[in-house]
């Protein structure tokens, strides 16, 4: 793979790196909040993948105008989809944080190792 390929796939390379970073944090971190941060990065990587895929070289926003012909448009659908997925991600994150608050109330800790010893 040449350097030009790498730059051409720049977004996708970043997607893969972010995905694995987030995944690593979810698995390796013992603090529940850090786990959720990792989960958020993990989901954001997928948002990037969706947003990258709709871009057409030289394409613009798909708005029909008078006197403009032969215009190339980018595909708007993935952006609409990912708007929904972002909302889902926000809901998941906030529910996760709410659960962490409850865990802290009941156990007095949010470190995984201490929690496993508690019961």
């Amino acid at each position: 793979m040449s350097v030009a390929d790498l730059t051409g796939y720049f977004n996708h390379v970043v997607f893969a790196i972010l995905l694995m970073l987030g995944f690593y944090a979810v698995i390796a971190k013992g603090n529940l909040i850090k786990k959720l941060v990792g989960l958020s990065i993990f989901q954001s990587a997928v948002f990037l993948m969706y947003i990258s895929m709709n871009k057409v070289d030289g394409g613009t926003a798909p708005i029909l105008q008078k006197n403009v012909v032969d215009q190339i448009y980018s595909n708007p659908l993935p952006q609409v989809l990912i708007l929904t997925a972002i909302v889902v991600g926000v809901a998941t994150l906030s529910l996760g944080l709410a659960i962490v608050v409850r865990i802290h109330e009941r156990y007095g800790s949010i470190e995984e190792r201490e929690l496993l010893d508690a019961d």
Partner: protein
């Protein structure tokens, strides 16, 4: 205007619309009544849909009148109708049968919120089943998951919080994997409609992204379906959830994920000329067998009643995966019938556990000694559910195990080996069910069984629903035509899509 043609959308939006209204019903008991009514209505719609589909129709519904590749379509065929029956039936039975258990475990002022989440879970699950749009499945999957997390954490047990956190992490990873897979398929085909995908996928030149998409979607959905070794979230979540929630989720939660997996695999990937069918079965078959053996073995040594039944659920999922992985008509029919019958058996078992929990604070098996003396009917229901789980002739469980064994026999020598494994795991089920029955029926009651609790039968409503569910196990064991014919129709549709 004909109401029949609107049934698919009504199935989804009735629970979805009533969920926010339930929140407003503060007076005691009202939210529960409304929930039971809405679940019952959903069940009635599902029965109607099943009748129509059984008559040979496939119901399609284009939202807003937009034609499918552009608009979102709902589609109810035999397979979805079977799943809709299971999901709405489980929601109704669990809501109706666990009223006292809810009152015991959920504070009165939080009940309206709890039941709103209940209806959202129902709406999410039926939405996943009814829709024909890959991205829509993701949205409904997340609706059902988020509502499910809330329900599991809703009880008084603080360990449920840890269980639900694990479930949230793993569930979100599963759903995100699914999303990545759908994105890759969309990149290659430019469509999100499942029918459209299956039409376009054979013509795609570069199949590499599709292979990766298949991997992501399969792993993501296996996480959601709690296939061994991705099942670790399930036992604790089921054990510490409020009892009514366990009844609902154990009966249908994981099956819907298998449904989506089967749909995707058979309708999309296997059409793509990728040897996907072979890969699919080589992946699922060993893991399905491992699920069966390992989870049954763990269940034999588990001391807590609900946790034992949860591991048994993982094992039963293994049977369903095994049947699906055969890729034959007979295997698919066996799996789909087993989805229905396992829901009946686990429903009866977890309902009787909920009944037991009304009188016994501690649900470790050895603490339940002699329960049959004070709660004979509850224990009888547990016995029937247990027999059905084992697969004793005359119960529903026997029918699907018999179908599965027949399907395996047709596979030659390797099939015989798998029949052996199925029989061994059935013996393991005998062991863990018998262990409980022995304690319930033949042990002397403990000296001081929490002296404050009245030792009597469970409340009449809970008891009667439990007995009806147990009776259904026998009824569908003697008259299994409806689930089998729906399952066979479903298998025809998928195997037809395979060719």
């Amino acid at each position: 205007m004909d109401i029949e043609q609107h049934l698919p959308i009504l199935q989804v939006i009735v629970p979805l619309l009533f969920a926010p209204l339930i929140v407003l019903l503060q007076p005691r008991g009202l939210a529960w009544m409304a929930t039971v009514a809405v679940c019952g209505l959903s069940f009635a719609i599902a029965v109607n849909l099943a009748m129509l589909v059984h008559g040979g129709q496939v119901l399609e519904y284009n939202l807003g009148g937009w034609q499918p590749p552009f608009g979102i379509a709902l589609r109810v065929d035999a397979l979805s109708a079977l799943l809709l029956l299971i999901v709405t039936g489980a929601a109704t039975v669990a809501a109706l049968g666990c009223r006292e258990s809810f009152n015991q475990q959920i504070e009165a002022h939080r009940q309206p919120l709890f039941f709103a989440a209940w209806l959202l879970l129902l709406a999410g699950l039926v939405g996943m089943v009814a829709t024909a749009d890959a991205f829509n499945i993701f949205v409904f999957m997340e609706i059902s998951s988020l509502a499910g997390y809330i329900l599991i954490a809703g009880g008084p047990d603080r360990r449920a919080l840890l269980a639900v956190f694990k479930y949230l992490i793993m569930g979100t990873i599963g759903a995100t994997f699914y999303l990545i897979g759908v994105g890759m398929v969309y990149m290659m085909t430019g469509t999100l409609n499942l029918d459209d995908m299956s039409r376009l996928i054979p013509g795609i030149a570069d199949k590499t992204p599709i292979v990766f998409a298949a991997a992501f979607i399969t792993i993501g959905l296996c996480l959601k379906a709690a296939m061994f070794p991705l099942h670790v979230w399930l036992p604790n979540a089921y054990t510490h959830a409020p009892h009514g929630v366990t009844v609902f989720m154990a009966a249908c939660g994981t099956k819907v994920a298998i449904y989506v997996l089967v749909r995707f695999s058979f309708m999309v990937f296997q059409k793509g000329d990728l040897h996907h069918g072979l890969e699919f079965s080589m992946f699922l078959m060993p893991l399905g067998l491992l699920s069966i053996v390992v989870a049954s073995a763990v269940a034999m040594f588990e001391g807590r009643l609900k946790r034992m039944l949860a591991f048994s659920s993982v094992a039963q999922m293994g049977y369903i995966f095994l049947g699906v992985s055969l890729l034959t008509n007979a295997g698919l029919t066996a799996s789909f019938t087993h989805m229905f019958n396992h829901a009946l058996a686990k429903g009866a078992l977890f309902l009787s556990v909920a009944c037991l929990s009304m009188r016994f604070w501690d649900l470790r098996i050895d603490q339940l000694a002699g329960a049959a003396k004070t709660m004979p009917l509850t224990c009888a229901a547990f016995l029937v559910g247990g027999l059905s789980l084992i697969g004793v002739p005359g119960t529903a469980g026997f029918i699907s195990k018999w179908l599965l064994i027949q399907a395996l026999m047709a596979e030659g020598e390797l099939g015989l080996l798998m029949v052996g494994i199925v029989l061994i795991s059935s013996l393991m089920a005998v062991v863990y069910i018998w262990r409980t029955i022995e304690v319930l029926y033949f042990k002397q009651p403990l000296k001081d069984p929490a002296a404050t609790v009245v030792l009597a039968e469970a409340p009449i409503l809970m008891l009667s629903v439990t007995l009806v569910t147990a009776f259904a196990n026998i009824l569908f064991g003697l008259l299994p035509d409806l689930p089998i014919s729906l399952a066979a129709m479903a298998a025809d549709i998928l195997a037809g899509a395979d060719q």
